[in-house]
Symmetry: C2
């Protein structure tokens, strides 16, 4: 656009990222940035879905946008619960008047498609909800089979990819996912504050056939999409600086390439887990279903969870997650996400944890963790 070109002239630069410092949300330069963010979101979601944009709220707003736009009062909603966010989605399904069918799986385990099939046979379900990457447990949920089953029974497939997007494959079109939301601050590598979301043409049809209004004006896609679309119809004032941050994070992601990024996350996780296991710690999530970006391990017996996390933060400025809900005090959740998934992070963290655990009286052989990680890097 003209503003960007003029700035390049003034600065005497060809830098791609030459932008006005501030613009109103109706400024053409800002609009262009928003268009680019939408296009890059299609890349990271691996989709051609027209209705792909970032919602102006955090991941929780994205969840609510997904549920509220699809579900009308009385609709049957099958929510698979194997961690904290499935639990939360049950709450949201009920707040918008959905009839909740809840399928519980032990935390730390993946959802079994056979049980989803049973539930789909027993009830005429409008939408199946699954969490792709369970932040609370470190479990990666396979989606293809559940998606196939949902469609076979005339239901939409709704997926939470808050922790997966950008860190491992999220193939919206290939896996035929219908409503997929995420967040910006995990593997996309942007500050928190927006929630990417995408709706398949199948989902758009369901939205178009609603008999009642979406119960939130702020999250009503029928209006939001006209703001983000060519209509430019005023709905709210987009969080401009967040839009710029998102576009830039996505550009970096695009330059790295999705597959290279997935491999990077996988490699650093293998190194981290090798180090942790050498230290004597045990993985929490079910084998074969472990996330690379969120590594959950059990707190060893005799060790006080909060002491270790407190020391890591105070002495090394490293923050790791505690267990949510029923897992409180029982596991640590170690994130290696986006720009933070590096060998450097792995080495620094293993060294710090080793020092802290030793100080807390845990028996280990100093140096073995880092050595094990180095072995993985080869």
């Amino acid at each position: 656009m003209i503003v960007k070109e003029l700035l390049k002239y003034v600065f005497m630069t060809e830098n791609y990222l030459t932008l006005p410092s501030l613009g109103g949300h109706r400024d053409p330069a800002v609009r262009e940035n928003m268009e680019e963010a939408k296009e890059l979101l299609k890349y990271v979601f691996m989709t051609e879905n027209y209705l792909t944009l970032p919602v102006s709220g955090t991941g929780t707003a994205g969840m609510e946008t997904a549920m509220f736009n699809v579900v009308e009062p009385g609709d049957k909603v099958l929510v698979c619960v194997n961690g904290y966010f499935g639990e939360r989605m049950c709450d949201m399904a009920q707040r918008c008047g959905g009839e909740l069918i809840r399928l519980d799986t032990e935390w730390g385990h993946a959802v079994d498609p056979a049980r989803v099939e049973q539930a789909l046979k027993a009830d005429k379900v409008k939408v199946v909800f699954v969490v792709h990457a369970a932040t609370s447990t470190g479990v990666l949920q396979p989606l293809v089979e559940i998606s196939r089953l949902a469609h076979e029974h005339g239901a939409l497939m709704m997926v939470d990819t808050v922790t997966s997007l950008g860190g491992c494959p999220v193939k919206v079109d290939e896996w035929e996912l219908d409503v997929v939301h995420s967040a910006t601050q995990k593997c996309v590598g942007c500050p928190p504050g927006m929630a990417p979301i995408t709706f398949s043409p199948r989902a758009e049809k369901v939205l178009g056939a609603r008999k009642t209004k979406v119960q939130s004006f702020y999250l009503d896609m029928s209006i939001v999409q006209q703001y983000w679309g060519q209509e430019r119809f005023y709905h709210h004032t987009a969080p401009i600086s967040m839009c710029y941050a998102l576009r830039e994070a996505l550009r970096l992601l695009y330059e790295e390439g999705l597959e290279a990024r997935w491999e990077r996350h996988a490699l650093n996780s293998r190194a981290l887990m090798a180090g942790l296991q050498a230290m004597g710690l045990q993985a929490f999530a079910q084998e074969g279903y472990r996330l690379a970006q969120l590594n959950a391990v059990r707190v060893p017996e005799g060790i006080v969870d909060a002491n270790v996390r407190g020391r890591l933060l105070d002495e090394y400025s490293i923050e790791i997650g505690s267990g949510f809900g029923v897992l409180n005090g029982q596991i640590w959740r170690i994130g290696l996400m986006g720009y933070n998934s590096t060998a450097r992070t792995v080495y620094v963290f293993l060294s710090a944890l080793e020092a802290v655990l030793q100080a807390e009286g845990f028996a280990l052989s100093p140096g073995e963790a880092v050595a094990a990680a180095r072995e993985v890097y080869g």
Copy 2:
């Protein structure tokens, strides 16, 4: 906190604004920033209300938070409509099951308290909603009398201060306002993306007596307040960089002082309006009820609105607002908000508008506008 102190040591500085570049939302340094933002919000809202915080969404999310938390299905809601956002609040009141009583006033005019009283006598109303500073028309709504009437009839007083907060007096406690929301990007001088909100103890009582769940999980204050409160109960991931931006914007506001800031806005508006009138333009809003931060003038006859705005943007990088809804093509809305309310802005804008209007064939005496503005500055 320790992190900030260590950073000061490393940087060998006593700078107040020494912060880690990034922190998780549970990081103590980030928590401290959030606490400070809350305290500074109390200052700008002129309130002692405990329940004062920024909602993690834009102003529209703030509106919805206000309405959704107060209104339960069947509650009677009196919405005063004298511009675009009153209209919008009617929609929100209905989406949460409220029984809407709508009081229309001609756009560009203030709401008459006598008519509010009539409506309050006719129905048992739970809450009265008024827009304090109408962005769509440039009208400043007096609140004290309507607030008194609302309480006399046992109703809560709910006010939209999106455009007023930080630009003119918003005396929440003195005026006994009960539910007041705003936005960050207007006179607070921060990027868009959060919505400050405050609830009086009277409003808190109403929230506590709800029989039904708030219909949005994301905006449910009973949970949101536990996240922002000492409980630190996980609800969502706050938009960290926005929290820092807000705290910094509020600090600048605090350093300037509220009264100095109001005076600055008033002075620059007087200069701008003197210039515009010297140019032959007419104010749109009712006399005696005109905003300083949003100056609405009529598009002169024979002049095409879009041409003028297009030229201002392309040739001078100045964006002014068009008329909303029924006022489309009829008025211009000229913002002088926050850091943008300066004599410099006034001079540059008057000079640019004069050039554009002349090029568009409008008859004026060159130089008179700037001279009239200079007279005001003395």
